[in-house]
């Protein structure tokens, strides 16, 4: 994902190109060291700090708007960049691993909402499957400013992040992110330095399923069978369960195209000993087309078709966790 350069002047182009790269090559050459040094001097003048190191990657706290507007919401982002092959985890990490955790320290009058998790990917082997993100991902966190928040001052936002980064092995990382933003009474405007990242992040967020779609969900022979009628055929879909230990993550999901839609068979987890009422999660058609679903599981013998999806407001994936 390309992103705009943040600083002004000649050294800046270089800093964007070099410093933002994941630290793949650990042996810094002399010219590169010099460039790094220059970039650090420049970044000190910026409102936003460069990404902090985490195991095999960097993490940066970014904001969608250049200032906090009293009485308005503002999107913050936790932007991860990872070295090739390394991954972090979704809210439900799957068979192993752990989702990143954040503790916020915010000035009075500011509050954050739940993390908005983009649709993940299946990561793993034949017997162990995890859900997470490789390469780069931005987790959006909405920030709300009270109407009476003190303006004409800067707010320092601090986030203590715990993150597990894995490839063949797992390395836990901890870092403290800081972001200082002015507080103003004017309504917010877009920050051109980060708008591409937020646009990309929003594209990969699960959407609300269209009202016309019809869902069916039944338990058949130790599997959950999900049928979706969306008025057209698609080539593939993957379900990501929001709650751990409901489906067997490693068993391949059986996708069957049907007139007007598809059927997806999900093996029940052996860890699920008690019946569940609903299945919640993300239904992904491609890497940037996914939908939140929350469906009741039909009782045996009952009609299994024609449910409406329970509509989720955007970013309500934290429900029930």
């Amino acid at each position: 994902m390309a992103r705009g350069c943040r600083h002004i002047g000649r050294a800046v182009t270089v800093s964007c190109g070099k410093v933002r790269m994941p630290p793949r090559n650990r042996s810094l050459t002399l010219p590169r060291t010099l460039l790094l040094g220059t970039a650090l001097v420049f970044s000190a003048t910026s409102l936003q700090a460069e990404g902090k190191p985490i195991p095999h990657g960097t993490l940066e706290l970014i904001a969608e708007n250049p200032w906090i507007a009293a009485g308005h919401a503002l999107n913050l982002g936790l932007h991860f960049e990872l070295e090739k092959g390394w991954h972090i985890y979704w809210i439900n990490p799957g068979d192993s691993g752990e989702a990143p955790r954040v503790k916020w320290r915010l000035p009075t009058g500011l509050a954050v909402g739940a993390i908005e998790w983009p649709a993940p990917r299946r990561l793993g082997s034949s017997s162990i499957v995890d859900y997470g993100y490789e390469d780069a991902v931005t987790l959006i966190v909405p920030l709300r400013a009270a109407t009476n928040v003190v303006t004409q001052k800067s707010a320092q936002l601090a986030a203590d992040v715990t993150v597990l980064v894995c490839r063949e092995m797992c390395i836990p990382g901890k870092t403290q992110l800081l972001l200082t933003l002015p507080i103003r009474s004017q309504p917010p405007s877009t920050d051109t330095r980060t708008e591409d990242l937020f646009a990309a992040a929003r594209k990969s967020l699960p959407r609300v399923a269209p009202r016309g779609w019809r869902f069916g969900l039944a338990e058949v022979n130790g599997s959950f069978v999900l049928t979706v009628n969306l008025g057209r055929q698609i080539t593939g879909a993957v379900f990501y369960p929001l709650v751990e230990s409901q489906i067997d993550n490693a068993v391949p999901q059986e996708f069957v195209s049907e007139p007007g839609g598809f059927r997806l068979t999900l093996r029940k987890s052996d860890q699920l000993l008690k019946p569940i009422e609903r299945l919640k999660g993300v239904l992904a058609f491609s890497s940037d087309l996914a939908y939140s679903i929350d469906l009741p599981i039909a009782k045996p013998g009952a009609a299994t078709n024609g449910y409406n999806n329970r509509t989720h407001p955007a970013g309500s994936l934290q429900e029930g966790i």
């Binding site: 793993g124 017997s127 063949e168 092995m169 797992c170 836990p172 052996d270 000993l273």
Partner: protein
């Protein structure tokens, strides 16, 4: 190279023979039989321990979740406490050669001595056969088998799925709770949990 020769020898010698149950194993069902070589060199048959509670602990010395329980002394304490009450405790090493957590018998013996660990035995499972037999997903996944040979618990060691040492004292330990309940003649209240930790480093594991 030496490692591969050793590995091949172990496979040829039939280090681990397993029963032919290939379907997924569920709590409440009979725990499948296995034979394995311990790091002490001893041959271990699970069936020889019928009549006793048996704990299986999946181990990988490089996994930070395992590290939490060994650096805090929690795992060693559990091993000592429960083996002193007659429980058989097997630490199982299912990492494939070349993967994180793979150890030779002497390396494992050094580790046990250094960590003052006290399992009944540490079982070498480089082919991952015991791991797959019990569908072990993570280290430290824990399994409890009752004296009748029935699996009564499979899952996490406790309810704090983190790598942080300070979480150990405040965690509810599922293994101790299940053993206490079973020994008191009660039903195990939480027979399965999500087994947190690092993925078991089987030969086919790509992550």
């Amino acid at each position: 190279m030496r490692r591969w020769i050793l590995f091949t020898m172990l496979v040829v010698l039939g280090l681990t023979t397993v029963s032919p149950f290939l379907w997924a194993l569920k709590v409440g069902e009979a725990a499948p039989e296995f034979t394995a070589t311990a790091s002490s060199g001893k041959s271990i048959h699970l069936s020889a321990y019928r009549g006793k509670y048996v704990v299986l602990e999946w181990h990988n010395n490089g996994c930070p979740y395992v590290g939490k329980h060994y650096k805090s002394g929690n795992m060693q304490r559990l091993q000592k406490d429960w083996t002193s009450r007659g429980v058989i405790w097997f630490t199982i090493l299912s990492s494939a050669p070349g993967k994180q957590g793979y150890v030779t018998a002497s390396e494992e013996n050094d580790y046990l001595a250094k960590m003052q660990a006290a399992p009944t035995a540490a079982l070498l499972d480089p082919t991952g056969e015991i791991g797959h037999l019990y569908d072990a997903k993570t280290s430290p996944q824990m399994v409890i088998i009752n004296p009748e040979g029935i699996m009564i618990y499979s899952g996490a060691i406790d309810d704090k799925p983190t790598t942080e040492l300070q979480d150990v004292p405040t965690a509810t330990n599922y293994v101790s709770r299940a053993l206490e309940e079973a020994m008191a003649g009660k039903q195990v209240q939480t027979p399965t949990t999500r087994p947190y930790g690092c993925s078991v480093k089987y030969a086919d594991s790509g992550h």
